[in-house]
C-alpha cells in the first residue's frame, strides 16, 4: 500500500512535468499553428541557465526557477522572430515552420551538448529544497509537491489568462486570423512575441523542475519532455489548457504504474499507443472542441 501511494506520488509529479511542458507546447500549437520541434530545447536551456545561476550566484530556489523561465522565454522569442516570423510574413504553411523548428532543434541541441560538455549534470544539493515534507504515511519530497503545485498554478493561471483576459482574447484572435485581429486594434507582432515568450517560460519551468527532480541537466532532458508533452497535448485536446494538464498527469501516473506493475519495457509503448488511439478515434482530444475549416 505504501509502495502504491508513493508510486502514485511519483507518477503525479512526473505527470505534472509532462502537463507543464505540454501547456507551453500546446499554447503555440493551438494559437499560432506551429508544431515546434525545438520546444524541448527550451526546457534543456532553461535547466542549463538555472544551473549556471544556481552554481554562480547561489540565489534562493524561486529566483533560480525564474532565471530558467526567463532564459527559455528569451530563447523562444529569438527562435520565433528569426525562424517563424519570415515565414509568417510570406504566408507559408505549417510545414515550413516545422522544418525551421527542426533546424533550431539541431542548433540548440548541439549547443546544449556543448554547454554541458556532453554529460548529464545535476543541481548542487543546497540550491533547492531537498528535504522530505513527510515521511509518514508516505515519503513526500518537497520538490514533488513543488512540481504538482506548479502545474496547478500554471494550468489555472493560463486557463484564466486565455479565456478571461483581454490579452488572452488578443492571443486567440491573432491565432484565428491575424489580419482581422489587426483591424480590431491588436498589434499582432507584439502578441505573437508575447505568446512565444509565455510558451517558452512555461516549458522552461517544466525543464528547470525536471532538471532538479531527475538530476539530469542535458539535452536529453528536453527530448524526453517533448515526446511525452506532445502526447499530453494530443490526448488532452490542444485547444484546452485543462485537458493538457489532466492528460499530462494521467500519462505520468500510467507510465509509473505500467513500469511498476507490468513491464518497464512497455512503458513508452503504452503512452504512445494511447497517443495513436486518440489521434485516430478522437483527434480533438478529451476536452477539445471540433474545429471547422473550409472543405
Amino acid at each position: 500500500m505504501e509502495l502504491f501511494a508513493s508510486q502514485l506520488l511519483n507518477g503525479l509529479s512526473l505527470g505534472s512535468l509532462y502537463g507543464l511542458f505540454g501547456i507551453g507546447f500546446g499554447l503555440v500549437f493551438a494559437t499560432l499553428g506551429i508544431l515546434n520541434a525545438a520546444q524541448g530545447c527550451y526546457a534543456s536551456w532553461a535547466a542549463i541557465a538555472a544551473l549556471v545561476v544556481a552554481e554562480r550566484a547561489g540565489l534562493p530556489f524561486p529566483l533560480i526557477m525564474f532565471a530558467g523561465m526567463g532564459a527559455a522565454a528569451v530563447v523562444a522569442v529569438i527562435v520565433d522572430q528569426m525562424g517563424f516570423q519570415p515565414l509568417r510574413a510570406r504566408g507559408a504553411d505549417m510545414l515550413g515552420a516545422l522544418i525551421t523548428s527542426i533546424a533550431f532543434w539541431m542548433i540548440l541541441d548541439s549547443l546544449a551538448g556543448f554547454a554541458t560538455g556532453q554529460q548529464s549534470l545535476s543541481f548542487p544539493p543546497q540550491s533547492y529544497p531537498g528535504q522530505m515534507l513527510l515521511t509518514q504515511p508516505v515519503p513526500l519530497p518537497a520538490m514533488q509537491l513543488i512540481a504538482i503545485l506548479a502545474l496547478v498554478v500554471v494550468a489555472i493561471g493560463t486557463h484564466l489568462l486565455m479565456t478571461r483576459s483581454a490579452i488572452g482574447s488578443a492571443i486567440r484572435a491573432v491565432g484565428w486570423n491575424p489580419v482581422s485581429a489587426a483591424l480590431s486594434g491588436v498589434n499582432s507582432r507584439y502578441v505573437i512575441m508575447l505568446t512565444a515568450a509565455l510558451s517558452g517560460a512555461i516549458s522552461g519551468l517544466a525543464g528547470t523542475l525536471g532538471g532538479v527532480l531527475t538530476s539530469n541537466v542535458s539535452f536529453t532532458l528536453g527530448q524526453g519532455l517533448m515526446l511525452k508533452g506532445f502526447a499530453a497535448v494530443v490526448v488532452g485536446g490542444y485547444s484546452d489548457v485543462r485537458g493538457t494538464a489532466i492528460a499530462g498527469v494521467v500519462l505520468g501516473i500510467l507510465e509509473v504504474f505500467v513500469g511498476q506493475y507490468f513491464s518497464a519495457s512497455y512503458r513508452d509503448a503504452f503512452t504512445y499507443s494511447l497517443l495513436l488511439v486518440f489521434l485516430l478515434v478522437k483527434p480533438q482530444g478529451l476536452f477539445g472542441k471540433g474545429s471547422f475549416v473550409r472543405a
Partner: protein
C-alpha cells in the same frame, strides 16, 4: 590521378549515403506531393531494413532481398494508408510521428526479428553498383510518374483537394497509390540502409532519420521529382563538408544552413514554378 582515387576513397561512403537518403526523400516526397506530410517512411524503412537484414543473414540473393523488402514496405504502407487516410493532413502528420515513436518500442521488443536493443549485424556490404542501379530505376520511375495521370492528379490534389474532386479525381485512389509507392521505395531504401551500415538497431530508424528525410525533401524542393534527389545529396554532403570547415560545430552549421534555405528559398532548390516564371519573364522582355 592518385589524388582523385584518394578523394573517392574518402567520399565513397558519403556518396552511398546520399543515394540511400535520396530513396528515403523520394518516398517522403511522393506522399507530400499528394498533400500529406507523413513521417511514416521511417516505418516502411524499418520494416524493409529488418526484413532485408534477416534475409541477408540467411544468405538469400540480393535481388530477392530487395524485392521482398519493397513488398514488406508496401504491405505496411497499405495498412497505414487504410487507417490514417481518414484523418485530415494536420492530424496525419502527428499520427505518423506517433507511429515512428511506437515503431521504436516495437523494434525494441520484437527481439526475434530485430535483435532488440543489441540490433543486428549484417555480414555483407552493399555493392555500390547495386545501389546505383536501384536509384536510377527509382528515379526513372519517378520521372515517368511525374508526367503520368497520377503525377498530374496528385499535384492538383495538393494545391486544392476540393477542386481536384470537382474535376473528377478519385482522391482516395491517388492517396493510396502515393502511399503504396512510398512504401515500396521506403522498404527498399531501408534494406539498402541496413546493408550500407552493416548494422541496424532501434535507433537507426527513429526521429533522426525522420527529420533527415523531411529536411532533404524540402531543401531540394518538394514540387519536382529531382528536388528530393538533389536535397538528399546536399544534405548528406553538408556534414562532411562542415566537418572540414568547422569540425566541432558541425550540427550547428547544418542547422543554420537548413534555416537559411527555409528563410530564403522556402520552395526548395528545385522549384518548377520559379523556373516557369523566369522563362516567361525572359520571353516577354526579348
Amino acid at each position: 590521378m592518385d589524388n582523385l582515387s584518394d578523394l573517392w576513397a574518402t567520399y565513397r561512403s558519403t556518396v552511398a549515403f546520399a543515394m540511400v537518403n535520396a530513396m528515403f526523400a523520394l518516398s517522403t516526397y511522393v506522399v507530400l506531393s499528394a498533400g500529406f506530410l507523413s513521417f511514416s517512411t521511417v516505418v516502411f524503412g524499418a520494416m524493409g531494413g529488418f526484413v532485408g537484414a534477416q534475409m541477408v543473414i540467411h544468405g538469400l540473393p540480393l535481388a530477392i532481398v530487395f524485392i521482398v523488402s519493397g513488398l514488406a514496405g508496401l504491405l505496411v504502407s497499405m495498412v497505414v494508408a487504410a487507417v490514417f487516410l481518414r484523418l485530415n493532413s494536420h492530424w496525419m502528420a502527428l499520427a505518423s510521428l506517433a507511429l515512428v515513436l511506437i515503431t521504436r518500442v516495437v523494434v525494441l521488443n520484437a527481439t526475434t526479428l530485430t535483435g532488440g536493443v543489441n540490433g543486428l549485424g549484417i555480414p555483407m556490404a552493399l555493392p555500390l553498383d547495386w545501389l546505383t542501379g536501384i536509384l536510377v530505376l527509382t528515379v526513372l520511375a519517378f520521372y515517368a510518374l511525374y508526367h503520368s495521370w497520377f503525377g498530374i492528379a496528385s499535384r492538383v490534389l495538393r494545391e486544392d483537394p476540393s477542386v481536384a474532386a470537382c474535376m473528377g479525381v478519385d482522391l482516395r485512389k491517388v492517396q493510396f497509390i502515393a502511399f503504396g509507392i512510398s512504401g515500396i521505395v521506403g522498404g527498399v531504401g531501408g534494406a539498402a540502409m541496413a546493408m550500407l551500415l552493416q548494422y541496424i538497431s532501434p535507433d537507426t530508424f527513429f526521429l533522426g532519420i525522420a527529420f533527415t528525410m523531411i529536411a532533404a525533401t524540402v531543401l531540394g524542393g518538394s514540387y519536382h521529382w529531382f528536388g528530393p534527389v538533389l536535397g538528399a545529396a546536399v544534405y548528406t554532403a553538408l556534414p562532411s563538408l562542415m566537418q572540414f570547415i568547422v569540425p566541432s560545430l558541425q550540427d550547428v552549421a547544418n542547422g543554420v544552413f537548413l534555416l537559411l534555405i527555409m528563410v530564403f528559398l522556402p520552395r526548395g532548390l528545385i522549384d518548377p514554378r520559379a523556373m516557369r516564371l523566369r522563362r516567361s519573364a525572359k520571353g516577354r522582355s526579348s
